[in-house]
Each structure stands twice: as structure tokens, then as C-alpha cells.
Symmetry: C2
């Protein structure tokens, strides 16, 4: 059995940026690209880019660089984007609706097949062609349909309970949009997509740079 190299998380987070940039370059007619060009476009170090590309197994050629088509394929393969996986979404509020409505996730190999809610007013409706089903049917349907990915867009107070139902239903990964920590068996992958985290970075950096701007004129 081939040993599976664990890809460092910072690297994983950069790969989608590479894919997006390469698609843009491809549409512009480029056939190959150097790590230098990628690095400059994304404000990274070119050595870092080469290291990242190395994990896909693609080798470049001195003076030429990398073949764009080959690189896109390898990157998508590495992230498993070519392999479409079905997912259930729990919590059909506005965030849930937005995620259902965003077509881009299909490009990443994510196919949302149903949504669940406990609000009778929502059950039986459709969001962009996706049925909103009764939350009490989640666990049973999840295991019968062999769903491996659950998306949590419920309020914080219901997150743990919904996660438990998904785990009992057999999911192996939970994409958690609620602001709560959830506890799961150690074999379940949990990824936190917390927008408040991102917003915290934005607002903090804003005050940090604001004060730096004040200091600079003083020192001049």
C-alpha cells in the first residue's frame, strides 16, 4: 500500500488559489506557467509554490515551467475535486440557502442532494431545486443513501444535536458553519467554516494598520 503523505493544511488552502489562477491563465491562452509567475500573481514566494506543486507529483521543466492543463488536473485530483460526493445540508436558513444556491461547489466535487429543517413552514419546500425535508428523517436517510458529508448551517444551540444525528447517520465529514465547537468521534473530519473568525481577522488588522498609519507621520 502506497504511504499517504499528509498534505500540510497551509498548502491545502493555497491549492484552490492555484487552480483558479491557472484557469484564468488557460482562458487567456497560456499553455505553460512558471512558479515565478504564479508566485507573483498570488504574492507568494516562488520556492513555496514549487514545494506546493511538488506534492501533486507534477514535475516541471527548467526554462519552460509547468504545463497548465497537467497542473490543473493534478491539483484537482489531489483535492479530490474530480470525484463528486453527495452531501446533506442541515438548517435551511438564509446561510443554508446561499450555500445551496452557490453553483461553484459542484466544481469542487460537492453535490448537495437534500436539505433538512425542523421548521414545518420550510419542510416540503424547495430551494433552487433542492428539497427541504423533515429533520427527523435525517439520520435514517443519511445511512440509507450512504451520505458521507454533512453541512451544518443550524443555530449554535442546535449544532451538537445535528452533528450527533449526522454521525449516527454515518457521515465521515462535517462542514460546520455554526459558531460552536462540536464534539465527534475522532474518525470524523470536522472543518470549521466560521465567518466570524475571518471577520475577526479583518477588524483586528484594521485597527492594527490604523494605528501604524498614525505612527508613521509622527516619526517623519
Amino acid at each position: 500500500m502506497a504511504p499517504v503523505k499528509i498534505t500540510p493544511e497551509p498548502t491545502i488552502r493555497r491549492l484552490p488559489k492555484y487552480i483558479h489562477l491557472l484557469m484564468v491563465l488557460k482562458h487567456k491562452g497560456y499553455k505553460n506557467v512558471s512558479s515565478t509567475l504564479i508566485a507573483e500573481s498570488l504574492e507568494l514566494d516562488s520556492t513555496l509554490v514549487r514545494k506546493d506543486i511538488e506534492i501533486t507529483g507534477i514535475v516541471g521543466r527548467p526554462k519552460i515551467g509547468f504545463l497548465i492543463d497537467e497542473l490543473i488536473t493534478a491539483l484537482r485530483e489531489h483535492l479530490n475535486w474530480n470525484n463528486m460526493e453527495d452531501a446533506f445540508l442541515v438548517g435551511a436558513g438564509s446561510l443554508g440557502a446561499a450555500i445551496i444556491g452557490y453553483k461553484g461547489f459542484r466544481e469542487c466535487g460537492l453535490n448537495i442532494v437534500a436539505a433538512f429543517d425542523n421548521d414545518p413552514a420550510k419542510i416540503g419546500t424547495e430551494i433552487k431545486g433542492i428539497h427541504v425535508l423533515d429533520y427527523t428523517k435525517l439520520e435514517d436517510l443519511c445511512s440509507r443513501m450512504h451520505i458521507h458529508i454533512g453541512i451544518l448551517t443550524v443555530p449554535a444551540s442546535e449544532a451538537q444535536q445535528a452533528a450527533d444525528a449526522l454521525v449516527r447517520g454515518g457521515v465521515k465529514a462535517i462542514w460546520n458553519f455554526s459558531p460552536t465547537q462540536i464534539s465527534t468521534p475522532e474518525w470524523v473530519v470536522v472543518e470549521y467554516a466560521q465567518l466570524t473568525m475571518s471577520l475577526a481577522v479583518l477588524k483586528r488588522k484594521l485597527i492594527e494598520t490604523a494605528v501604524v498609519d498614525e505612527i508613521i507621520p509622527e516619526t517623519n
Copy 2:
């Protein structure tokens, strides 16, 4: 002028988790909390938690820990959540609507005052009480209202153009939800809230753990 300590980004990302946990504990009636309890609840190292808390300036007491109220206030202060800032949102699609609809951001000191779009069918409508205005008025209104934060929820192809308009309008920070790299003057803070990045981590970890699960039985 007090020197402004730059808070490391990994620390910033953990602070909202602390705040959320502390709120939960507070509602349960707790008055104080130890770094050990926080660490266990969030699956972190207690030394790391103490280091993080240290940057807020709050000191604890041996055997007692930290006062929850004091800690929440200091953490919110550090992230500037107590200071409400107005923001413009560009791109009134489903993601934009979800962000407008999410009340939680007000808790983080973000107040969305208007949305902009170039689709005549959307201009003049309202989303949860927020007016959708003509995109061509963005720059002028932005500078007249002294807006400092712009939220980008436009398609990738329009992201750079919209960012340029925001920058000309005088924003100091852009929260970019589009999958594109945008280039801005170096004094503008850009935070990428890319869901595809998060999804990439989820799907990659899923295949990594899946293969590990296959290996373990073999080695037994």
C-alpha cells in the same frame, strides 16, 4: 504613543471561539474559568490558551483562573467588536443576501448599511431591510458616508473592478468572498473568506483519513 503589538493571525482566529465558549459558560452561571477548562473544551493546549489571553492584558489568579465577564470584555475589545463599523456590500446575489441576513455579524461590530448591484432587476429592492442601490453610485456614496469596510460578494470576473471602486471610495478593508486574488494599495487590509479553501481542506482530509482507515486493519 503606545507600541501596537501585532497579534499573530492564528491567535486572532481562536479568540472568537473563546468568546463564544465564555458566553455559553456565563449563561450556565459560571463566574470564572481556568485556562485548563477552556483548553479542554476547545481541544487546545492550556499554555496556548494562557498565551492567547495574555495579549488582551487580562491577568488571572492562581487556583481561581480568570473572571469570565472581564475576559469577554477584554477579548471583544481586542477584536474591536464593541466598536460598530458601517460597511457596504457589493453583489446582492444569494451569498450577499445570506450575509445581510445573518444577524450575528452585528455582535462582531459589523453593520451593513447598504448593498450594491448592477442588475436593474435588483436595484431598488430591499433585502431584510437593506436597500439594494445602483452600483454606479458606490464610489461616491462610499466616500460621502466615510465607509471603511467593503464586502465583496460579486462573481470572480467582477471582483477586481468592484475592489477598485471601493478603494477609490476610500475603504480601508475589504472582506473578499470571491474566489479571486485582488490587488489593492498596500494600506488596504484584504481578508479572504473563501469557502472553497475550507471545502478543499474538508475533502482532502476526508481522503487522507479514508486511506488511513484502510491501512490500520492491514497492520493489525
